[in-house]
Structure formats: structure tokens, C-alpha cells
Chain length 203, copies 2
DNA sequence: GCAGAAATGGAGCGGACACTCCAATATGTA
DNA sequence: TACATATTGGAGTGTCCGCTCCATTTCTGC
């Protein structure tokens, strides 16, 4: 399916419409009519390109999930601050995607075991990522302690993200930075010149 | 409506059925047929007692929300540990209610501004409650710092609660207790004799 | 025990929804 | 250009859902 150029373009339009609607109306509010209207497409065209409405939603959600997952090819050199900033950016920057992700994780994860398992898997990967960063930051930490700290930190970030999504005025960045371990006094004076190690941390 | 004893009992049965279904199938999965079947009641009886399906759902959700709200009549003497324990108990003890609350807050709060406002209001009340406890614990704290700590702590609890709901094997209590400030060395040896100040903290 | 009101079950209505079908048209290939 | 095949729109289909209607039964105060 979708062999010609026009078909591929239509597919993209449909996915964009679905993505947009998911962010606006939420998981269960997306109707086929809304999608096809938004994408300026007939129902027939839709079903020429997708097996079902669910298939389109699933595709969008898959992409959203992928964009939150820790980069599998990452070299593991991100600092804690990088990871925290990436998380904050994910919530405050790409808000509709964040909404979709949270709606999926909570709205469906709480009732659908398949979704729950999937969400948990990617959550665990992220915990590992944070735990590694902790051990790099404080080499003396033993593994369980690092994981516990990572678990707590990620939980706090999730909670703060939720608040940020509910309350546009909430300063997530400031609160999130409080989670980081206090910096050594030497770097305090760096001021405006301070830079994060990598420009856009994979996360 | 519902003047006779039977009517009141039927009302209770319907609410119980709705509550149960909300926990199992989720917010949008609850159909009228499911409710009336579960409650062994005809559709006519249902509409004799409730204006709409939504009204029943709303009632259940209202009760759920109330049970999370900080006790308005609380004397403000809870310790941080009390509040944390109460939150943990809410999630791990009354799991279906916790599910309903989270589904409401996230599933609908993210798209429905009315719900969002409501959730935020009760959230802010809880933050205040935690901030007060912080200041009681560490009298030197200034107000903004106490609130920031409360905000972070509550966010972490929410995140941990989410994980606990998704992963039944997750030890929420242990992780949650890590959020408390380190205890003075004198009380460490108390061991099994240690008791929380009030048996069931209002929260 | 009687009367009037409340409660009950369930057939059925109207509308929304995901999806099908197909005639008409556009697209790429040789 | 001619052909095969992909794409398109939208009218129509079956299903499900919330809700109404109403004849019948149950309840309770007097």
C-alpha cells in the first residue's frame, strides 16, 4: 500500500492530523471523521492506507514513544544535568508529544496490561540511563543506591512534568534543577559561560 | 429521587458497580450496560436515580477526589512522614480509587480545562500541606524554600505512585521513604518500637 | 388494606461511530 | 499513448451506546 508519491503524502497528512488531534482531544476523543476532515481525505482513502483507525493512532504513539526513549546508540556520556534538561525540554518543548505519551502511559497503561508492559520497559531503560549518570557523577556509589536515586529522580521529573502539563505557568525547569546534586563550589563562578556537555542530549 | 429504602440501596449498588468498573476498565470504557449489568438493574431504574451516565461517573470521581484531598479539618500537626505514608497508603492500599484519580487527573485533565483546574486546585492544597510540615520539621526554612521542597516531594510521590500502579512489584514505600530528610541519629535505635504520630493521617 | 407515589425492567429510538464498497480518476511504466 | 494499478471521495452498512417510555410491581404512611 502507498506505492505512489501521492499516496505517501496522503499518509503523512493523515499521520500529522492524527498526531495533532491526539494532542488536542486526547486518546479516546479522536474519531475517524475528525482525522479525515483534518487531513482533507475521504474515508476510502484512509482505509486504502491504514488497516484501521487504531493502526494510525498506534503509529503516531509509536513515534511519540520512540522520541522519549533513551537513545540506544548514545555513548553513555551524558551528565545528570543533560538528562534532566532533556526531560524538561521534552515536556515543555514538544508539549503535544508529551501529552500523548502521558495519556498513553497513564490513560491506557492503567487498564491495558500490554501498554503497561511497554511503558514499564521504556521506563526501566531510562532508569538505567539515569543510574549510570549518577555513578559517573559520584563514582563511589554502589549499584543499588544509584538505581534508587535514579528511580526517585525520574519519578520526581514525571510528577513535575505532569504539573507542568496541567499548569502552563509552572516553572518546571527551576524545580527540576533542584533535583541535581549540589555543584562543587569551584564551578559556581563560571556564570553565563557555563555550558552543558552536549547541545541536545539524546533522550 | 430515591425516597424509599430500596431506591437508596439501588443507588449504592449502582455507584459501587461504577466504581468497580472505573478501576477495571477505565474512564472511557464504562458503558451503561456494563454498569446496569454489574448492578443487576434495568436501564429504567438507573435513570430513575441518575440524570445521566456521566452523573454517576462524576459522583464516583468526586468521592475519589475527596479521599485524596488533605483533610480540611486537619489540625496541621502531621509530620512529613505521616503525609508520605498516607500518600503511599492511598496508592498501594486503595488501588482502584488511586487509578480513578490518576486517570482523571491525567487522562482527562490533559485535555479538559475544567478538570485540569480542579485537579490543580487540590494539588496546590496538598503542596501547602506538605510545605507546612516541612517548616514544622525544619523551623529555619523560609516559605519559598519550603514550598519548593513540598512541590518536589509531591511530584516524586506522584511519579512513584504511577510506577507502582503500572508495576505491582514496585516497592513504593521504600522509595518514598528516601524522600524524607535524614533522621537525627538519636531515634535510629528505636527499631520496631518506632511509631508514626497518628495512626491514620488525614490526607 | 388502601391509595398514591416510587421503583423496576426492558423494548426500542435516534444518533454516532468504525468501516465497506465502488465508480470515477490520477499515476507511473513501457 | 495505452495499460495496469493505485488513489480518491462519499454514500451506505452494521453495530453499539446513551437514553426514553411505559406497563407492571413494590413500597410506605395513614
Amino acid at each position: 500500500m502507498a506505492r505512489y508519491r501521492v499516496g505517501i503524502e496522503t499518509r503523512e497528512r493523515i499521520l500529522a492530523a492524527t498526531r495533532r488531534l491526539l494532542g488536542e482531544v486526547g486518546m479516546e476523543g479522536v474519531t475517524l471523521k475528525a482525522i479525515t476532515d483534518q487531513a482533507s481525505v475521504g474515508a476510502g482513502s484512509f482505509y486504502n492506507l491504514f488497516d484501521s483507525k487504531e493502526a494510525a493512532v498506534f503509529e503516531v504513539v509509536r513515534e511519540a514513544l520512540e522520541s522519549v526513549d533513551p537513545d540506544p546508540a548514545g555513548e553513555g556520556n551524558d551528565t545528570l544535568a543533560d538528562l534532566v534538561d532533556a526531560f524538561v525540554l521534552f515536556v515543555t518543548g514538544s508539549t503535544p508529544v508529551a501529552r500523548i505519551y502521558l495519556q498513553l502511559a497513564v490513560g491506557r497503561g492503567l487498564t491495558d496490561p500490554v501498554i503497561a508492559a511497554r511503558v514499564l520497559r521504556s521506563h526501566r531503560r531510562r532508569v538505567e540511563r539515569f543510574a549510570d549518570a549518577w555513578r559517573r557523577e559520584e563514582p563511589g556509589l554502589d549499584a543499588p543506591e544509584a538505581e534508587a536515586r535514579a528511580q526517585t529522580m525520574l519519578a520526581a521529573l514525571t510528577g513535575l512534568g505532569l504539573t507542568a502539563l496541567l499548569d502552563p505557568g509552572f516553572d518546571m525547569r527551576a524545580h527540576a534543577h533542584r533535583l541535581l546534586p549540589p555543584q562543587p563550589a569551584t564551578s559556581v563562578s563560571a556564570g553565563a559561560g557555563r555550558r552543558r556537555r552536549s547541545a541536545h542530549a539524546s533522550q
